[in-house]
């Protein structure tokens, strides 16, 4: 899971100052997203799943 220093680096890249009092809560939220993203990233996809210009059902 991402550590505080990694999150701080990302925030520098995004030009987003993380207020000191928010860092812990943002980190918790990021880790939750990371956990869910791992589920998504584990899906094996084929060329038919490539994204088109705009998604429509």
């Amino acid at each position: 899971m991402i550590e505080e220093k990694d999150l701080t680096s990302l925030s520098v890249l995004a030009a987003l100052d993380l207020p000191e009092q928010r860092i812990r809560a943002v980190l918790e939220n990021f880790r939750r997203i990371q956990q869910v993203a791992q589920v998504v990233n584990a899906v094996e996809l084929g060329p038919e799943d490539e994204i088109g210009p705009e998604w429509r059902p």
Binding site: A14, L16, E28, N29, I33, A37, V43, P57
Partner: protein, 405 residues
Amino acid sequence: MEAVEQALAAIRAKDGGINAFTAVFEERARATARTAKGPLRGVPFAVKNLFDVKGIATLAGSKINRDLPPAARDSPLIERLEAAGAVLVGALNMDEYAYGFSTENTHYGPTRNPHNPAHVAGGSSGGSGAAVAAGMVPLALGSDTNGSIRVPASFCGIWGLKPTFGRLTREGSFPFVNALDHLGPLAANLDLLAASYDVMQDGEPVAGLKGIEGLRIGRATGYFEENAEPEVYELTRKVADRFKAVPVEIPEAARGRAAAFVITASESGQLHLPNLRKRPQDFEPLIVDRLMAGALMPAAWYLQAQRVRRWYYRQVMKLFETVDVILAPATPRPAQKIGQEMFTIRGKEMLARPNAGLLTQPISCIGLPVICAPVGKVEGLPVGMQIIAAPWREDNCFRVARALA
């Protein structure tokens, strides 16, 4: 005119205890009512405050948007309803920027559930659900990105429709997640749900549709059973048994939900990044950390989630070769209490606010049309059932709903 006056009186009498409305347009409503004509003549309605209403800033539940200029015109969906005779009477409370399932809004106060004011009304269209359930208006408009029409409809015991992605224009509404946003109606009864949808859509009318002969109906098991309290699932099972529905499993619903979660986090974070940089202190405290985290997410995760969504869609479409309609509970539980952080589902403790949408997110992720129908009460509070059809087949949702109403 009489119905509009009754609505205005009901808002005055009841809204102090519910907090569904953020604005009431008495003068405008009376003026519109005087000349109203059409199939919805004199029907009072209200809109979630992310719809543009001419002359006022579109708040979308936020403090920040108070600084926006007033909307130059009404949202096209308001225009369509008013062209059919309906009368706009007010704007409704919501979770800030639609990011939530509870309408516990720090800036405007929580909206209370008319069935028990200690409980939430659901969200993010909580004002819409509560205003209808309290009998202040019979019709409201809401938006649904991950369940924001269906969760309040379920918690408030009313009807809600999330049409197919792309069916109703989103022009004149404040966005949340471009890839997932839908608009739709919530109503006190099915007739009004159908009539209002018909005046907003361009397809074949659904009002008056009935008969489920030939429809193949399924009951969602697996993920949808495991993530609902037994008493809640039982209500869906009872309805399904009446229709002789066959058990079916919506494939990969958990991973579909995960994709929706990632897409939502990324797009909403990016949408608000300029204000997160400039004025983070003005955001809703309940969402600002989520928005910041989403804004920092790698693009690779977002793009993978979009691919997974397509992969998931293809699998669900195969299921629609064997059934036309799928029934599933709308929420895992009835409404939690205002301020409640955690709840349990089948003994498993989890965060209450994000998980109220556990059962709606896998459906909106791929844009399927859904009606949320009231099917009973658990612990004295209402819960709803999703009537889900293949894309563009709202007619099938309405046929099944009619057999229930």
